[in-house]
Symmetry: C2
Subunit: 228 residues, 2 copies
DNA sequence: TAAAATGTACAACGAGGATTGTATACTCCC
DNA sequence: GGGAGTATACAATCCTCGTTGTACATTTTA
């Protein structure tokens, strides 16, 4: 494990900030701004280093806030993590909902429009660059996160997006553009196939067990695609 | 984060072992056995709790070994982690290679045989139950693991399997069973589609950037599958 | 402008945990 | 049966980090 440059004194990564007194970069405004800054800093820290490695000190420093202020806004590190997850998931979900709406509201050329959709889907979104890394941390930490928090994240993020995509696909099927038996599976398959380049490996999800059905559906799609 | 029951004194999970003196469950045999036991225990601990949370003490306890013995076999926690990764990756890769060989060596009914292959692919392998969790930990820790170790893992595990699958698909194409332009992509798509039920969410992989091509390929497969 | 909120620096506490040294106990081979 | 190699228990070291208390500064608000 390459040792991470100690934070809190001189920031890592970009090195923009070094030995700056907290006062200088203090976000103007009241309660809400501090809170937002902490969430943003926490997102970066948790995403890059994971829950345990991300120290409160480093989060405070990234956020331009004292550690005490963090404890004034969030009861402890664990709850901060959960709120960061929720914060980031909601924001990114919004972006995907916008993409779905933009490319699937009106379809004129099926293949062209889906290609555009696919490209938009995997186009990196620099504003939310850390979110994917955060998701990896969530998946790794899943066993140590309360079930309620996991569920809340799923509902606010991935499930919400998938449902919207499924609805869009169902609509296209009703308009005669597609043949879709199970819009939910179709939406899932779409996201998997489209971001195949992003996935180097496989990961798990013990939340659903319609495994058999999904295997069959996957095989069918695969064979339709490759068996001509 | 649900606090984890402290290990090393009374084991968690199954609770099979509590306050057992190391002597009692000491694996018989010499050097190699100790080493194997440590790798096995490390695998469980790292998979369940992640790199930082898995303590050397807990690994020692699970392995039925003293912490000192761990340090006699592995120079430090970091290297132990890397060796555990390699160990598990190789073992699981073997299992998948066997599956590929078993179901794709001789094909008589395309759909039936691929369905069997797909079911075998996602059939949980209890012997290697922890491996998926370990992979999640690797992905989360990736930024803190030396590039060489990541690459070694990829080569020994996922890439090796994917290449074998690609070779099998290419052979089936040559025999006229399939139409496959790019066996590598086809293999990747197969694994993604087949384990769609296992993946609740998306994950990343900054190792390849033929993103555009893969998007197009994914879309094509998707449309072939769902646009009839 | 002054009280109330809120934020900051600083220091302290306490727990957990990686790593190492050491003296003692086992095991295996000759 | 005894020595070499290995393992064990135990304890000590040293460091990181979450969390809290406190006195002082800043900002907001009325």
């Amino acid at each position: 494990m390459a040792s991470v440059a100690k934070e809190g004194q001189s920031d890592d990564a970009s090195g923009e900030v070094r030995f700056v007194r907290q006062y200088d970069k203090r976000p103007q405004g009241g309660l809400a701004e501090k809170r937002a800054a902490i969430l943003e800093g926490g997102l970066k820290a948790f995403a890059q280093h994971g829950y345990t490695r991300a120290t409160i000190d480093s989060i405070a420093f990234r956020s331009g806030v004292s550690t005490r202020t963090i404890y004034n806004h969030f009861c402890d590190k664990e709850h901060l993590f959960q709120e960061v997850i929720q914060f980031s998931a909601e924001r990114v979900a919004q972006a995907y909902l916008a993409i779905i709406d933009r490319y699937l509201r009106k379809v004129t050329d099926l293949e062209d429009d889906f290609l555009d959709l696919g490209r938009a889907w995997v186009e990196p979104m620099p504003e939310y660059a850390d979110h994917d890394a955060l998701v990896r941390q969530i998946l790794a930490e899943a066993a140590h996160i309360p079930v309620a928090a996991i569920r809340a994240w799923q509902e606010a993020g991935p499930l919400r997006v998938r449902r919207a995509l499924a609805a869009a696909l169902r609509r296209l099927a009703e308009l005669g553009w597609l043949h879709v038996d199970d819009p939910e599976s179709a939406a899932l398959h779409f996201t998997l196939l489209v971001s195949a380049g992003q996935h180097p490996h496989r990961q798990i999800a013990p939340l659903e067990n319609r495994t058999i059905d999904l295997v069959a559906a996957g095989i069918r799609a695969f064979l339709y695609g490759y068996a001509r």
